[in-house]
């Protein structure tokens, strides 16, 4: 579904990605892990066209989207839950959700939108409760839920998630991973950036490990989970030490 070849992204003179190649097959969940500043966000932003200066090639459904505008890429069925949420802060929760489905309204898929909205409200009852609250005044976690909800409103074929569990209570974070599995079962392809590596390994099929702008390791998530180096670098001390 997505193929990236030798992607280099720049912020001014700073090179954030130094030749990344990866691919995501239709129906997969692929996880992307890496330390802070490794370039994960940059990668996701590059895919949706938010990074203006890049070289290499990004193919989505066999179409070259390397230098297309975010709008065109979104129109092809890609959706991103961005880092830092990027809500429409002065607008209400409901307006944020409605705008999530902007492209679909343009395509007049009214009834699908309605049912998706219901599903989202079911998944995140808080959002329904706060539908007319100004988004900027939501609590951090509520905002994160809204960001996810908004991304889902576009009914994406390919969903990019940048640290979706950030700032969420454990119960909700677990809930999010459930939702990710559900979406996967319903046929959505997912590329997931996650700091909670254990959880990421658990839900994903394959994982790429990225360090200072390069892919340093890749493979089936099951396998990487048992890789000693990965364990040390990304899983840390085992939970039990913490809990005991």
């Amino acid at each position: 579904m997505l193929t990236i070849r030798n992607l280099r992204s720049y912020y001014g003179r700073m090179q954030a990605l130094k030749g990344v190649s990866l691919h995501v097959e239709e129906g997969e969940i692929v996880a992307l892990i890496g330390a802070n500043g490794a370039g994960k966000t940059t990668l996701l932003n590059s895919i949706v066209g938010l990074v203006p200066s890049l070289t290499g090639q990004i193919l989505f459904l066999n179409a070259d989207i390397t230098h297309q505008s975010p709008r065109e890429i979104i129109r092809m069925g890609v959706s991103l839950v961005p880092e830092g949420r990027q809500l429409f802060a002065p607008l209400t929760v409901m307006e944020n959700l409605t705008l999530g489905a902007y492209q679909r309204y343009r395509r007049k898929e009214k009834s699908k939108i309605k049912s998706d909205l219901d599903t989202i409200f079911e998944r995140f009852p808080v959002l329904k409760e706060r539908r007319s609250q100004v988004a900027g005044t939501l609590s951090g976690g509520e905002q994160q839920m809204l960001a996810i909800g908004r991304a889902l409103m576009s009914g994406p074929k390919f969903l990019l998630l940048d640290e979706p569990s950030m700032g969420l209570a454990p119960l909700i974070a677990a809930h999010i991973f459930q939702i990710i599995s559900q979406l996967h079962q319903q046929g959505t392809t997912i590329l997931l950036v996650e700091q909670n590596a254990a959880a990421a390994f658990k839900v994903s099929n394959r994982t790429y490990v990225i360090e200072t702008g390069r892919v340093v390791l890749q493979g089936a998530s099951e396998e990487l989970l048992h890789n000693q180096e990965v364990k040390r670098a990304y899983l840390g001390r085992e939970y039990k030490e913490v809990w005991e």
């Binding site: 429409f88 002065p90 705008l99 100004v134």
Partner: protein, 297 residues
């Protein structure tokens, strides 16, 4: 004239002036809602509308109705062209940069109008006669009723547009967060273009309907912009009902001020009221403080 009659007349005067200001303020609101910019060239759109209408009716001698729509159309196109030429190419301009760009544009529009139509003040015949209507000893011009009617219609349409249509929401989304707007597939640049075109159109409408009362010349825009801006801010930027209410408040303050206190200080009186309101309610009369907090400007 009895005091009561006078009072009523002041009220009518205030409503007339207020409606003019309110119309100008609506134009400010549109661009503000979609971009967060205060377009100081808004007054020039008003001027262009009025001058264009006079030109089409008096010089080209087109019928009123045709001229009316044609003027709006032309000014709308000018607004759109301005956006394409001067706003569109900018990458991520600061608010001050934008303000100065709109100031520069207003200089250009003013100069253009001066060359096109000269420096004289022009008038336009009212839409339906000049005979004042008298109500309980006070009089009001039929044109004022036109202004009120068209303003009411404009406000209603704008409320519907921004509150209920997807495009309207998308416009507000652009002002709130451009990155996010492009992430949900909104064509931000088109929305900005649309907002400039729309506000130019509304500005032109304002210019056309007020010219029979207020006259028009190439230099009129700045003052109208200042008044419109005051009214938009007093009402709460982005609030269209606020703009209308604030327009009437400023208009009535001015006319009562002129009537009962001092015509020299009437503008000052209205502005003092404006300042007091802002000091008590920093986001304007009908502006939402909550929303305002999440706006940079």
């Amino acid at each position: 004239m009895s005091l009561g009659d006078q009072l009523l007349q002041y009220l009518f005067t205030g409503i007339t002036i207020g409606a003019i200001y309110g119309m100008v303020a609506l134009g400010f609101n549109i661009i503000y809602s979609a971009t967060g910019i205060i377009n100081l060239a808004q007054g020039e759109f008003v001027m262009l509308g009025g001058m264009m209408m006079v030109y089409l009716t008096a010089i080209i001698k087109l019928p009123m109705v045709v001229s009316f729509f044609l003027s709006i159309l032309i000014v709308t196109a000018i607004g759109a062209a301005f956006e394409r030429a001067a706003i569109h190419p900018l990458k991520s301009p600061s608010v001050i940069t934008l303000i100065i760009i709109t100031v520069a544009a207003s200089i250009l529009f003013k100069g253009g109008a001066m060359f096109a139509w000269g420096k004289h003040t022009v008038s336009l015949s009212p839409f339906s006669g000049e005979e004042p209507i008298s109500v309980l000893g006070a009089t009001i011009l039929p044109q004022t009723l036109w202004i009120l009617g068209i303003m009411a219609a404009t406000v209603a349409l704008l409320i519907l547009f921004f509150g209920f249509t997807l495009t309207g929401k998308a416009m507000r989304a652009c002002a709130a967060n451009r990155t996010a707007a492009s992430l949900v597939g909104i064509n931000v640049k088109t929305m900005v273009l649309l907002s400039f075109a729309l506000s130019a159109g509304i500005g032109a409408t304002a210019g056309i309907i007020i010219t029979p009362i207020a006259l028009m010349n190439y230099d009129r825009g700045t003052m109208l912009a200042v008044k419109g801006f005051s009214v938009a801010v007093l009402g709460g930027l982005g609030s269209n009902v606020g703009a209308v209410v604030a327009g009437f408040i400023i208009g009535i303050m001015e006319s009562l001020g002129a009537g009962f206190i001092s015509s020299g200080y009437k503008d000052a009186i209205a502005l003092v009221v404006l300042l007091l309101v802002l000091f008590l309610k920093p986001s304007g009369l009908l502006g939402s403080r909550e929303r305002a907090e999440f706006k940079k400007f």
